[in-house]
Subunit: 397 residues, 4 copies
C-alpha cells in the first residue's frame, strides 16, 4: 500500500507567510492525506510574524504548557521568585519539577552562576603535511588581531574571544570562540567565521590543500567531550544545600540515602559511557526550551552535565548541577513569537541583556527536577522493598 502524492506544496514567492498561504498548504496536505488540519490551523497570530522562523508555514503545534513554581533563585542575573512555564506532554513532569521548586524554596533558594559563555564555529584547514599545518597554527596566533577584526566586522554582537587549535595529521582544526550578545549565535558565528576564513585563505597560506567551514569539532547539535571541557553556549551551575529535616519532610528520604544513590549513579554513568551522571536534565530543559522559543534541537548539547553532591555531618545535603553547554537566547530565533515571548516575559527574560538570566533560571529548574526524581527513586525503594532487604542498611550511611 504505497502512498502516492501527486500534489505539490504551494508557495508564494512574493509573500508566503499569510493566512491564505497557510490554509492553502493545509488544504493540499489535507486533500492528499484525508486529514482535516483543524487544530494545526488554530493559531492566534498573523503569520507575518513567523517570517524568518519557518518555511512552508501551515499552522502551529499546540504544545500543552503548565506553570510551576515559584522557583526561588539567588543568581547574579536572576534574583527572586519565578513562575516557570514548561511545555510538555509528559504527565508528572510539571508536578515533579514543582515539588523540587517547593523543596529548594523552603531550603532558602538556589544559587546560580554562569561560569563561561561562548559560541563556536570550527573550520578545518588541510595542508600538504603536518609541518605546514603546524606552521599555520603559529600563523593564526600571530594574526589573531587581524582575524578578529574581519570576523567581528560581520556583526556588531559577535566578539571573537579566542581561537582554540586542535591538530591531527596534516589537518588543523580551529575552534573559533565568540560571545554573541543575547542571541543563540550559531548563525552569527558561522557568518563571522566564514568571513574570517575567506580572509585567511586569501593570504596565500603555504601548503594549504583544502578548507571547509566545519569539520565537526564545533560540535553543533550533538554532544562531545570538547563541549564538556570547553563549553558551548553558557556553562552554568546551580547549587543548593537542603536541610536534613526538609529532605525527610518533603522528599521522604534522607541525605545519606541520596548520597549512596549518587555513588551508584556515578558508577552506572562511568560504566555506560553516559554523557551525564544525573537523572533527567533534558526533561526540564526541553520543556522550557519549547515554551520559551529556544532552539530545541540544542537539547542534544544541553542534555550533558555533571551532578556533584556532598553529605554534611549533620545530614544536610549539598547538591549541584553543572550544564556545560546550555545554549539560550532572549533575542532573535523564536524568542519573538507570540506565546514564546509571553513566556520569556513571565520570566523577565525577553530581549537584550537577559540571556544569562535565562540560563540561570533553566539551571535552577534542572536542579529541582534532579532532586525530585532522585528522591522519588530512592524513597520508593526505601518504602516498597523495605521488608525484603531493608534489614541491611545502606552501607555508606
Amino acid at each position: 500500500m504505497r502512498t502516492v502524492i501527486a500534489a505539490r506544496l504551494p508557495r508564494d514567492p512574493a509573500n508566503d507567510h499569510t493566512r491564505d498561504m497557510a490554509e492553502a498548504r493545509r488544504r493540499v496536505v489535507g486533500e492528499a492525506t484525508g486529514v482535516t488540519l483543524e487544530h494545526v490551523g488554530a493559531f492566534s497570530f498573523d503569520p507575518a510574524v513567523v517570517r524568518g522562523n519557518i518555511e512552508g508555514f501551515g499552522g502551529v503545534a499546540q504544545v500543552p504548557l503548565g506553570f510551576a513554581g515559584p522557583l526561588l533563585v539567588d543568581g547574579e542575573h536572576a534574583l527572586g521568585e519565578f513562575f516557570v512555564p514548561l511545555a510538555t506532554s509528559e504527565g508528572t513532569l510539571v508536578a515533579s519539577y514543582g515539588r523540587g521548586m517547593r523543596l529548594t524554596r523552603e531550603a532558602g533558594g538556589i544559587t546560580t552562576t554562569v561560569i563561561d559563555d561562548v559560541m563556536q564555529r570550527a573550520p578545518v584547514f588541510v595542508f600538504c603535511d603536518a609541518r605546514a599545518a603546524r606552521a599555520f597554527g603559529g600563523w593564526v596566533d600571530e594574526h589573531f588581531d587581524d582575524i578578529r577584526a574581519v570576523a567581528e566586522a560581520t556583526d556588531s554582537f559577535a566578539h571573537l574571544v579566542r581561537i582554540e587549535q586542535y591538530a591531527v595529521g596534516k589537518m588543523r582544526f580551529l575552534r573559533f570562540d565568540y560571545t554573541t550578545g543575547d542571541a543563540g549565535g550559531q548563525n552569527m558565528v558561522t557568518k563571522a567565521t566564514h568571513a574570517a576564513c575567506a580572509w585567511m585563505t586569501g593570504q596565500g597560506l603555504s601548503g594549504l590543500e583544502h578548507f571547509t567551514l566545519s569539520g565537526n569539532l564545533d560540535t553543533d547539535k550533538k554532544h562531545s567531550a570538547v563541549n564538556n571541557l570547553h563549553t558551548r553556549g553558557k556553562r552554568v551551575v546551580a547549587e543548593v544545600t537542603v536541610p536534613a529535616a526538609l529532605i525527610e519532610q518533603v522528599m521522604h528520604t534522607t541525605g545519606a540515602a541520596l548520597y549512596h544513590q549518587r555513588q551508584l549513579s556515578n558508577m552506572g554513568s562511568l560504566l555506560a559511557g553516559a554523557v551525564n551522571n544525573g537523572a533527567h536534565y533534558a526533561n526540564g530543559i526541553t520543556a522550557m526550551f519549547i515554551a520559551c522559543g529556544q532552539d530545541v534541537a540544542n537539547v542534544a548539547e544541553a542534555s550533558a552535565g555533571f551532578s556533584y553532591t556532598e553529605l554534611r555531618e549533620n545530614g544536610d545535603y549539598y547538591f549541584s548541577i553543572t550544564i556545560p553547554s546550555l545554549i539560550v537566547a532572549t533575542c532573535g530565533g523564536g524568542t519573538e513569537l507570540p506565546t514564546q515571548r509571553e513566556c520569556l516575559e513571565v520570566l523577565g527574560c525577553f530581549g537584550p541583556g537577559k540571556a544569562r538570566k535565562l540560563a540561570e533560571i533553566v539551571a535552577a529548574t534542572v536542579l529541582c527536577g534532579e532532586l525530585s526524581l532522585g528522591s522519588a527513586i530512592v524513597s520508593d525503594q526505601w518504602v516498597s522493598s523495605h521488608e525484603s532487604f531493608g534489614r541491611n542498611p545502606p552501607p555508606s550511611t
Copy 2:
C-alpha cells in the same frame, strides 16, 4: 531587584484541567509578572484532553509548523510519499530538509530499515561482595522465565526480551530490554521492572545489601555508549544512492567532494569525542518530535548516530544514516493531543501498529537534512574560496 511572588498557583483537586483553571493560573501568573498571556491562552481544544499529559495547565506554546516534501520512502512500514510536518522556529530548517527530500525523491527514494526495537529500565543490585553479585547474575539467568512473567503481568504490551547484565565491583546492573508495542514505553518498563524487582528481592537473594530501580545504565534522557551499542527505542537506518548528475544539479557539488568532507568529519568527530559523526540529526528529529507529540527530551538520545557513505566509481554517492536510539510512539504520551494527532495522521502514523512506520519516516527525514546541509557546506566552500586555494584539487578526488 529581587522578584518576590506572594501568590501561589491555584489548583482544583476535583477537576484541574478546565478552561477556568487554566485561566485562573494565567491570571495569577499575569498579575505576579505584569504579563498578559493572550496567546498562551489561545488554544483550540478542551483542556480535559491534556489530563494525564500535564499539570498546572495554563495554555499552549504555539510552535510554528511547516510542511516539507513529498518525501519518498521505500520502507518496510512506510511506503510511498509523505508530507512531513516540522515544528520549529529556526529559519531555513524546513527549506533545507525540503531540498534533501527533493534530491532523494528524484534519486528514487530512501530505503529505511528498523533493525532493533527495545526499551529499558536498568536497576542495580548491590551485594556484600563481588562473588554474591556474580552468583546473583547466574540466578537471574536461571529465573528469567519467572522474572518475565512477573514483569509482563503489569502491562499487556510489555514484552521482556532479555536482561543484559553488567558488573562492577559488588554491583550487578541489570538492563531489562522490552518491546512496548507502539508506546514510547518508558513508564511501562519502569512499572514492569519495579514489579519484577520486587519479586526478585522478595526471593531472599543471598548477600543483597541494596537495591535501586535505576543505576543510570538505562540510560534515560541522555546519550551513552551502551545505547549506541545496544539501542534504546528503535535502531533505524536510512539509505540512498544519489546519482552523480543529481548531486551536481541539485546540490551544486560532487560525490567526491562530499566523500572528502566525510573523511574530515569522521576525524573531527573522533577528535572531539562527539556522539555523532554527522551534521545535525537533532534538527529534523526535534522538529518532527514537537509536531508529532513525541517526548522531545528524547532528542538527548536520538541526537547520536552514525553516517556511513561510499563513493562509487561512476561518481554516484551512497549515503546512510543510522540512529541507534530513536524513541517514537504512536500511542499514548502526547500522540492524542489535537495538533499532534493531526500531524501523525498526515503521516498515517496515528495509533497502534504505526511506531516503526514513524521511525522510518523520521530516519528518512534525517537523511535528507544531512545531505542538504552537508552539500551546502561543501559547495559554499567550493565556490567562495575557489580562487584562493581551489587550485589544489581535493586530494582524494
Copy 3:
C-alpha cells in the same frame, strides 16, 4: 646530519635463533651506529628458546625486577600469600605497592573474583543494504551451532561462547567471544574466526558485498567502551575493607578523607572523559606483565577500570577495583621464557589452569597500589597544607 645505513641485518633462514646470529646482528648494528651492545648480549639462555617469540633476535632488555609482598589474597584461584615480582625502572613503584600489600595484609587480605573470561575477534560483513545485513544477523543466530563447530575445530582450547552483533548502516559487526584456556588467545581466536568466516562466506550469503576479518570492534590493543561493558580477557574484581585504625596508622589519613577524594576523582574522570576513575592501575599491571611474560601491549586495554568505595559508619573503608579487560596467560606467548617462567613459578602461576589465578593476583596488586598512592596524595595534602587551608574541614566528613 642524516644517518645512512648501508648494512642490512643478517638472517639465517635455516636457524636464525642462535648465539651466533644474535651476535652477528649486534655486530651489524654496532658497526652501523658505533655502539657496543655489551649488556644487550648478556643473556643467560639458549636463543633457541625464543623461537616463536621474536624475529631478528639480538639479545635482551634487562629490566630491573624487584619483589614486593607478601600479598595476601583470598581468591577463588589464588589463595594465600605471594611474593610479587615487579619489573620496572620507576623508583618508588615497588615500595608503594609494597606498602599497600602490608596494609591489606593487616586488614585480613584481599578478596578477588573473576567475573567474566572471554577473548574476541570481530569481523565485519558489508551487505548491499541494511536489510540484507539484518537478515544476515538472523542467519548467524540460526547457524550458531555450525559456526561454532567450524571455529572450535581449529584449536582444542578455543570455545566459542557467543557471537555479539552490532549494526550500523549496511554493516554487521560480529564480535566472536571465546574462552581460550590459559593462553592470551588473540591468535587462537583470529584463526578460529577466520575459519568460521570462511565457512560463512562460503554459504552464499545473500547480498554480501565485502568481508574483513577485523572491523575495529574487537577492540585489540586499545581501550573501548565495548570492552568496558563486555570484557576482553578477564573481568576481575579485588575488594578489601580496611579498618579505620589501620588507615591512620599505616597511611596517615582517614577513610573520610579518602572518600572525599573519591568524589573529586570521580568528577575529574567524568569531566576528562577518562577511561579509569582510579589513580594508576597501569603501573602495577605493566610491572607484573613485564616480569611474567605477558603481552605488555595489552596495558592499552588493562589500564581501564573502575574504583568503587564505601565509607562505613565506623570509619572503616571499603575499596574495590574492577579491571574489565585484563588479558593474562600462563601458557604460550612469553610465559615459557626463562626469567618470565621463574616469575610465574614464584606466583604458582606457570602452565595450564593458572590464568585466573594470575588474574586474581594482578587485581589484588592493583588494589594495593591504588590504596597506597591515593593515601599518599591525600595525606600529603593533609599535612603540608594544613596551616593554610586545613581549618576548613573536608566538607563530607
Copy 4:
C-alpha cells in the same frame, strides 16, 4: 591449598642495591616458593646502577630483543636510517614492523613532526560555591607569573607553559602544562605543581574549602578525551605516501582496498567507543618502550591515536598516524640502565636534547606497523576468501 609465607623480604637500609642483597631476596623468595631464580639473577651490571629505579631489587626480567630496519625517517630531529630495537615476546611483531619499514623506506621514508610537547599535573581546588571557584579562576590568570616563578624554582628543566582551567560545580580543576626538557617529567611536574599550589593556598584564597594535588584530570597512566585534545607528552605525526606499485608488490593489496578498510575501521571505532581508529599502535610503542628504558605504563596513554589516510587518483596511498600522548624520555628514569642505554644509543637518542628525536622514531615505527598489519588483514581476505565473495568488488573502488 592456602599458601602461607612466614619469611619477610630482607632489606639493608644502608645499601640495598648490591649483588648480595639481590641474592638474599632471591633466596628468601626461592625458599618460600620452591623456585630457583637462576635466570632472574643473571644480570650483567652492578646493582648500584638501579638505585633510584627500583626497590626490593632481586634481578632482571630478560625480555627478548630484536632489531628491525633500517627505518628511514625524514624528521626534524630524527633524520636518516635507524635500526630499531624492539623488546617483545610476541612472535611476528618484529617481522611485521620490519616489513613496514621496508615498504616505507622504498617509498622514500617517513616524514615525522612533533606538534606539541607538554606534561601535566592537575590539582583541584574546592570552594564554598561556584562563584568563589570562578573568582579563583580569574585570580589564577592574574597571578600566572607568580605561580610560574614558584613552580619553575623547583627544577631548572620545568617550564610552566600555561594553566588550563576546567570548571564543575564548586570545583576548579587546574591543568598545569609544562615542558620538562628531555625527561618524562611526571615527577618533576608533581613537585613543581606541589610548590606552586602550596604558595597559592598560602595566599588566603577566598572561600577555599579543600585542595588536592590531583583530581584525575591529569590524566596520568590512563587515556582521556582531554589528553586526546590537548596532548600529554609529545603529540607527534608520522606521514608517508606509498606508491601504488609498491603497495601491490610489497603488501599484495591496493590503496583502494586499504582505503575501503579505513572506512570500516572508522565506523567500527566510532561504534565501539574506541580510543584509537587504527590497528595496534600499542605493539610497537610497547616494544620500543621496554627496549629503551621508557615508563612502559604510559602505553595506557600512548595507545590512543588517529589514523588518517587519503587515496590519490593514481592509486598512491597517503597514510598518517597521530599519537597525541606519547611520553618519552632520553634522560632520567630508566634511560641510563645498561641495556636500555645501549638501545637508546643505537638510535642516537641517549641523553639531553634527544626526546623529540625519540618521539619521531617511535611514531615512524608505529606507522610501519599500521601499514603492515592493515595490509595483512586486507590481503588475506582478498586471497583466501576470493572465491566465495570476491566476485563483488569492494564498493568504493
